[in-house]
Amino acid sequence: MKPRTRDVRAFEREEKREVWRRRGRIALRVVACAWLACVALDGAGCSAPSKILPRPIAFFTQVAVLFPRAAHATIDYRAEAWICSKQTWVEMDTRPYFPIDPDDKENRFNRAMHFFRENRATMHALDRYIVRNHDDHPGPDGIDPGERIGGVRLMSLRIPIPKVGSSFERYERYPLSHYPDAERKAFYHTPESTRERRCAFQIEEHD
C-alpha cells in the first residue's frame, strides 16, 4: 500500500468534488435545454412533451401560449341561489366566498367555472361549498343572511365585444338583470330533489 500524505488525500477529495460538480453542471444544462425545448414544442402545438413528461412537470412548461385566439365575447361567470322560503332563484354574489382577486376574472370562482364548468363532480362540489358557506357564514352576497338556500344555478355571461370605433362604456359589473337572456348560458343547477331535501332539512332543523 502506498503511503499517502494528508495533502494528497485532500487533493484527491477536491478532485472528486470537481468531477461531481462537472457532472452536476452537465445535468443542469441537460434539464435547462429540455425545459426550453418543451416550452418551444408546446408553442408549436406538439403534444409530445405532455405525453412524455409526468403531468405535474409538463404543467410547468406550458407557459408560452398566451392569448392565441380572438375573443368573440367578454365572459363573466355568475350564480343564482334557490331561496327555500320563496321557492325562487335570486342572484347571488359569490365574491364574499372567493376573496382572492374578487373583482376580476382571476377570481377562483371564475377560474373554477372556466376550467371545470363541464365537470359534474366539480360543479357539485362548488354547489355544496356555496350553499354551506351561505348557510353557515353568510357574507354580503346579496341574499338576506336569515334566508336559507337550497342550491345554486351557475352560468356564464357572454357580453358582446363592441365594434372598433363605436362608443361604449368601460367594463363594469352589473346585476344579472342588466343582461338579456340571450347573453346568459346556464351550465349547472342543483337538482330539484337535492334542493327540496336541503330546504326540508333546514326547515326541520329550525323547527
Binding site: P56, Q62, V63, K105, R111, I161, P162, G165, R170, Y171
Partner: protein, 317 residues
C-alpha cells in the same frame, strides 16, 4: 467554427454576475407582489377554508391533486414563501433561500390550479436558475459577509450557465408564443389584440385606447407583435438589431402592464428577465463598481471577431 464550438464558447465566456443579481433581487419581489392577494387569504388559497376542486383523476386542468392544508399549515407555507423570497432578494443564505422559495412556489402552483397563472408556472424555474448560479456573488448580504470574513471580494464576472439560461428563456417564450399565435387566429383575424382588451382586465388606458385607435392600427400593432415574437431569437442574436428588439420587448410588456390590470406582474417578470439578460454590459458595470474600475468598461459578453470590435463604442450592443 462549428455550431457546437460556438455554443461552447458562448457558454464559457465570462459574463457580469450582476445580471443574475438583478434577477435575484427583483424577481422574488415581483413574484411576492403577484402572490400578495393569495398570501393575504392563505387559508382560502391552499388551506381548507376555501373551495377545493375534488380529485378528478386525469382531468386536463388538474395536473396533480393536492389535498387542502389545515389553516395553520397554509399560513406556515405562506410565511415560508414570504421569508424565503425576501431572503433571496437581499441575498442572505441565497442558495438555500432560493431553493425553499422555489419549493413553496411549486407547491402552491400545483396545490391550487385555480389561482395558478403564467407567473406561478414560470417563477419556480427562474428561481431555480437563480439557485443554481452564483447569484450571491454580487450585491448581496452574502457577498458583504464574505468580504468581512475574508477581506476579499468574489469575482464579479465569470462564465455562468444560469445567466445564459435566463437569456434564452424570454426568446424561447416569445418564439413559442409567436408560433402559437400564428397557428391560431393572429394571421387571419385582424382584431385579435383589440378583442382581448375588454372585460375585467380592462384599465382606463386600455379603455381609452380602445375608443381612440382605428382598426387598421390595431391590426398593424398585432402584426408587429407577431413579427417581434416569432423572430425574437434572430433579432436578439444579431448585435445590430438587439437594442431595437430589447426596447420593443420592454415597451410591449410596459403596454401590457398598463392595459391589463392584473397582468402587470407577468409583465414585470418578463421585463426583469429581459433586462437582466439583454441590457448592455455597461449598465451592469454601473451596478458593480469593482468590475468597472478593473476593466474601465466591461466588454460585451458576446465573443467578437477582429480588433475593431474591441473599441468601447463597438462593445455596446
Amino acid at each position: 467554427m462549428t455550431f457546437g464550438a460556438r455554443i461552447a464558447r458562448w457558454l464559457e465566456t465570462p459574463v457580469p454576475l450582476a445580471r443574475l443579481a438583478l434577477v435575484r433581487i427583483v424577481l422574488p419581489l415581483v413574484v411576492l407582489g403577484f402572490m400578495s392577494a393569495r398570501l393575504a387569504h392563505a387559508s382560502h388559497w391552499i388551506g381548507d377554508a376555501g373551495f377545493r376542486v375534488p380529485d378528478l383523476g386525469d382531468h386536463w386542468a388538474q395536473p396533480l391533486y393536492v389535498p387542502a392544508l389545515p389553516a395553520w399549515a397554509a399560513w406556515t407555507v405562506a410565511v415560508a414563501m414570504i421569508a424565503s423570497g425576501l431572503l433571496t432578494s437581499v441575498g442572505l443564505k441565497t442558495r438555500a433561500s432560493a431553493l425553499v422559495f422555489a419549493a413553496t412556489l411549486v407547491f402552491c402552483a400545483l396545490s391550487d390550479r385555480l389561482a395558478a397563472f403564467s407567473v406561478s408556472k414560470l417563477s419556480p424555474t427562474l428561481i431555480l436558475a437563480v439557485a443554481a448560479g452564483p447569484a450571491e456573488r454580487v450585491l448581496s448580504v452574502d457577498a458583504w459577509l464574505h468580504k468581512r470574513r475574508t477581506g476579499k471580494k468574489w469575482k464579479s464576472e465569470r462564465p455562468c450557465g444560469s445567466i445564459r439560461f435566463l437569456q434564452l428563456v424570454p426568446l424561447t417564450i416569445y418564439m413559442a408564443s409567436g408560433i402559437a399565435k400564428a397557428r391560431a387566429d393572429w394571421l387571419h383575424e385582424p382584431l385579435v389584440l383589440y378583442s382581448q382588451i375588454h372585460g375585467s382586465y380592462q384599465t382606463w388606458i386600455a379603455y381609452s385606447l380602445a375608443r381612440a385607435i382605428p382598426s387598421w392600427l390595431w391590426t398593424t400593432l398585432q402584426g408587429t407583435v407577431l413579427v417581434f415574437e416569432s423572430t425574437a431569437p434572430i433579432t436578439f442574436a444579431i448585435r445590430k438589431t438587439r437594442p431595437y428588439a430589447l426596447v420593443f420587448g420592454l415597451g410591449m410588456h410596459a403596454m401590457i402592464a398598463l392595459m391589463f390590470g392584473p397582468v402587470v406582474w407577468f409583465s414585470l417578470l418578463m421585463m426583469t428577465v429581459l433586462a437582466a439578460g439583454w441590457m448592455p454590459d455597461r449598465f451592469f458595470a454601473l451596478m458593480t463598481p469593482a468590475a468597472r474600475d478593473r476593466r474601465g468598461d466591461l466588454s460585451d459578453t458576446t465573443p467578437r471577431r477582429g480588433p475593431a470590435r474591441r473599441s468601447r463604442r463597438a462593445t455596446s450592443p
